[in-house]
C-alpha cells in the first residue's frame, strides 16, 4: 500500500488479472504464486501457454519456479541489489523508455546515478545470481510489449519492505511498463480482502477511500456524516501498537478475526504483551490462541457465507458475497456485534441492512461512489476507481501517465533512490543458517481455518534444508531436530529440499500448536509500513541426541 501510493498516489495493483494472460513477459518476484495464489497463477499459466516468458525470482526453487523459463535464485534480502543491477543494465543497454521517462516521471538523473555502481558483476556478487541471468531479465523486461511485474510477501515481509516495492516500481517507470493494458505492477494480496480492509480505512492514517485522517476537509465530511468527532492525528500501526503495549500506553484491545498470539513475529513477546493488557476483547469464529487470552470472547460470523456484503480482490474488483447460512448456536453477525458495542458506548447507528452500510461508504468514498449493490450484481463486480454510476473506468490504473496533454498526465511518478541493505539479522557463527518462512498450498496462515480439514497434500511442519546442509550437519530426512534463533527454539522434522541452496532453511507458520515457528522470527519492522521481517531470521539446527524422543512416537492421523 505505502510503496505504490508513494509513486502513483493509489495503493492498489495497477492491472487486472485477465491482463496477465496477454502479457508477453511475466516476472514473479518473491512470490510462490503456484502455492500461495493458485487462482492468479492460472492466469499466468495461460500466458505461458501462449508463449509468454516467465521469470521467477526467489531464494528457493519453488513450485512456481518449476513452471518458469528462468529462475533467479537470489540470496534472501538482496532484492534491491538485484533491482538496481537490472536498472543499470537497462540504462547501459539503451533500453530506457525515454519518451515515458521524460513525460511522466521525475528524478531519473539521481536514480541513474544511484544505480551506476551496480554493474552486472557487483550485482551478481551480492545477489548470487549469474550476470547473464540478470542481463537476460533486464533485456526481456525492458523490451517486452507488455510486462507484468508481480510480487508478494517475499518483497514486503522485510525490514525494508517499502524500499523493496519502490525498487520494483522504478523498473516499471524505466521501461514504461505501467499504465498500459497488460503492462503493470501487481502485488498479490495475502488474504481475500486485504485490499478492501485498507480501502475501508482499517488503517491508522487513512479514512475510507484512502483519504488522509489528518486532512481537515476530508475528516470534516466524515464527522458530518457520522455526527461524531474523529481524532485528527494518525494512529499507530499494528507493530507500533505492540510497542505501545510494552510501554503501557496501550492497555485495551479489540481484536476482530485476527490471531496475533500465533501470527506475530517473535510471538513469545506478543503473547506476553497481550496477556498483560487491562482489557482484551476478541471477536472470532474459532477459539484461537488469542481468544484464550481474552477477557471477553464474542462469537461472530464466517463472512463468506454467513453475512451479506462485499470484498475487494488484488485487482481492486469489488464483488458481492451473500449470506447462505445463519451463524451456529448463539453466534451473531460481526456487524451486529460491533453495532451493539457502539450502542453501549453511546453511539446509536441505524442500519436496516448491510447495503445501508455500503451506501454510507459510497457517500464518503468517491472511488466507490458508482458501485451500487445492484450494479455489482449486474456486472459481477467492478474495479475502483468507480466514481460514477454511468461509467466504467479502464481495467488498469494510471493510463493518465501516457496522455499527450500534460494537464491530463497529472503528477509525475517519482523514481526512488533505494539502497541495498542486508536483513536486520545477519547470520553468524552461532546462528549460521538463514531461515525464511512462507505458505504451502494446502494450509492457511496460523492454521485456525485450514487445520480443521483433512488434506491429502498436507505433510505438517518441517524444517526444509538443502542437501548440502543435510550432509554437513549429518541430518536424515524425517529426523527430529531443534531449530534455534536468538529469540527461541522449536522442534521439527527435517525435510531435505533440493530447491534450497546451502545455508537457507524454510519453514511455514501453519501449525503453531505443534511447531510455533514465530518463536524464531524477528520483529524488526519496516519504518514506513510496520511490516515485520518474517522472511529473514538467523538460526542454527541442532540434533536431538536421543533415540526415543517421546513426541516422535506420535503418529499423524491425517494424510
Amino acid at each position: 500500500m505505502v510503496g505504490l501510493a508513494t509513486v502513483f498516489g493509489a495503493g492498489g495493483g495497477t492491472s487486472s488479472y485477465a491482463e496477465a494472460r496477454d502479457a508477453d513477459v511475466i516476472v514473479m518476484w518473491g512470490s510462490n504464486a503456484r502455492n500461495a495464489h493458485p487462482i492468479y497463477f492460472h492466469h499466468v499459466l495461460q500466458a505461458v501457454r501462449r508463449g509468454a516468458t516467465l521469470f521467477v525470482i526467489d531464494p528457493r526453487r519453488t513450485e512456481t519456479a518449476q513452471f518458469a523459463d528462468r529462475w533467479l535464485g537470489l540470496e534472501v534480502g538482496t532484492d534491491i541489489a538485484l533491482s538496481n543491477t537490472v536498472a543499470r543494465e537497462i540504462i547501459h543497454a539503451g533500453l530506457v523508455h525515454h519518451g515515458f521517462v521524460e513525460r511522466a516521471t521525475s528524478g531519473f538523473d539521481e536514480y541513474a546515478a544511484a544505480v551506476e555502481p551496480w554493474t552486472l558483476e557487483r550485482g551478481s556478487e551480492v545477489t548470487g545470481v549469474p550476470p547473464d541471468a540478470i542481463r537476460e531479465l533486464a533485456h526481456a523486461y525492458a523490451t517486452a510489449r507488455a510486462a507484468q511485474l508481480c510480487w508478494t510477501l517475499g518483497i514486503t515481509e522485510h525490514h525494508n519492505g517499502v524500499d523493496n516495492v519502490l525498487s520494483l516500481c522504478n523498473l516499471a517507470l524505466l521501461a514504461g511498463q505501467v499504465g498500459r493494458y497488460g503492462a503493470g505492477l501487481s502485488p498479490l494480496r495475502g488474504q481475500n480482502n486485504v485490499q478492501g480492509g485498507g480501502d475501508m480505512g482499517a488503517l491508522p492514517d487513512r479514512l475510507p477511500g484512502f483519504q488522509r485522517v489528518d486532512d481537515d476537509v476530508a475528516r470534516a465530511r466524515f464527522e458530518a456524516e457520522w455526527g461524531a468527532t474523529v481524532p485528527p492525528t494518525p494512529g499507530r500501526n499494528l507493530t507500533q501498537m505492540f510497542d505501545a503495549m510494552e510501554r503501557g500506553s496501550l492497555r485495551s484491545l479489540l481484536v476482530v478475526g485476527e490471531n496475533p498470539a500465533q501470527s506475530e513475529a517473535d510471538v513469545s513477546r506478543a503473547v506476553e504483551l497481550l496477556h498483560g493488557l487491562d482489557h482484551l476483547v476478541v471477536l472470532d469464529i474459532h477459539r484461537t490462541g488469542t481468544a484464550e487470552l481474552a477477557d471477553v470472547v464474542l462469537p461472530g460470523s464466517a463472512s463468506w457465507c454467513e453475512s451479506d456484503g462485499t470484498v475487494t480482490n488484488s485487482e481492486r474488483r469489488v464483488q458481492r458475497v451473500r449470506k447462505a447460512l445463519d451463524p451456529p448456536g448463539e453466534a451473531r453477525d460481526d456487524i451486529d456485534i460491533l453495532v451493539e458495542l457502539a450502542r453501549r458506548l453511546g453511539h446509536d447507528w441505524t442500519y436496516d441492512t448491510h447495503e445501508d452500510i455500503w451506501n454510507e461508504v459510497r457517500r464518503l468514498s468517491p472511488m466507490h461512489a458508482g458501485m451500487s449493490w445492484a450494479r455489482l450484481e449486474a456486472t459481477g463486480g467492478l474495479q475502483w476507481p468507480c466514481p460514477s454510476e454511468d461509467s466504467v473506468e479502464p481495467s488498469f490504473l494510471h493510463g493518465r501517465l501516457w496522455a499527450d496533454d500534460p494537464a491530463a498526465r497529472g503528477r509525475r511518478a517519482p523514481f526512488s533512490v533505494v539502497a541495498h541493505e542486508p536483513p536486520a539479522e545477519a547470520v553468524t557463527a552461532e546462528f549460521p543458517l538463514r531461515l525464511t518462512t512462507g505458505r504451502r498450498l494446502d494450509s492457511y496462515n496460523t492454521g485456525v481455518q485450514s487445520g480443521g480439514y483433512r488434506s491429502p497434500n498436507r505433510r505438517g511442519e518441517s524444517v526444509d534444508v538443502s542437501p548440502a546442509d543435510a550432509r554437513s550437519l549429518d541430518l536424515a530426512d524425517g529426523e527430529l531436530v531443534r531449530v534455534i534463533s536468538p529469540r527461541g527454539a522449536v522442534e521439527a522434522p527435517v525435510r531435505i529440499d533440493r530447491g534450497l541452496r546451502a545455508g537457507l532453511v524454510f519453514m511455514t507458520f501453519h501449525f503453531p500448536d505443534e511447531v510455533d515457528v514465530n518463536r524464531l522470527t524477528i520483529d524488526a519492522t519496516d519504518p514506513k509500513s510496520g511490516t515485520a521481517e518474517f522472511k529473514a531470521a538467523a538460526v542454527r539446527i541442532e540434533k536431538i541426541e536421543t533415540a526415543a524422543h517421546p513426541r516422535t512416537t506420535e503418529r499423524m492421523v491425517t494424510s
Binding site: 480492509g197 481524532p231 451479506d308 516422535t552 491425517t558
Partner: protein
C-alpha cells in the same frame, strides 16, 4: 514405528464458537450476550475515562467484508476515539 518419524499435523475437527465467553479468573466461562457485551463495553468505557489517554487499539480482519471493516474503523474512530486501527495490509 520409526524413531525419527515425522511429527505431523493432527486432524482436529473445526469447532465453532457458539456462545459468548467471559473471563472468570483463569478460565473463560459461557455468558449471555448481554453480560458479554456489557463487560466488553465497560472495559472500553473505563479506558475512555482515563485521563492519561484511553490507549485503546483495534485489529481488524482482512478476511471479513468491506462492510465489517468499515463499521470496525467507524467504531474505532468514533466510539473508541482512536485511530489506532490496523490490519495486515500495509506494505
Amino acid at each position: 514405528m520409526a524413531a525419527f518419524g515425522p511429527r505431523r499435523h493432527r486432524y482436529r475437527p473445526l469447532e465453532r464458537l457458539t456462545q459468548p465467553l467471559v473471563r472468570d479468573g483463569d478460565t473463560l466461562r459461557p455468558a449471555s450476550w448481554d453480560e458479554a457485551l456489557d463487560r466488553a463495553a465497560r472495559g472500553f468505557r473505563t479506558a475512555l475515562e482515563r485521563e492519561t489517554g484511553s490507549g485503546i487499539g483495534v485489529f481488524s480482519c482482512s478476511k471479513s467484508t468491506n462492510e465489517m471493516n468499515f463499521v470496525a474503523q467507524k467504531l474505532a474512530r468514533t466510539a473508541l476515539a482512536t485511530n489506532d486501527i490496523d490490519s495486515c495490509n500495509r506494505t
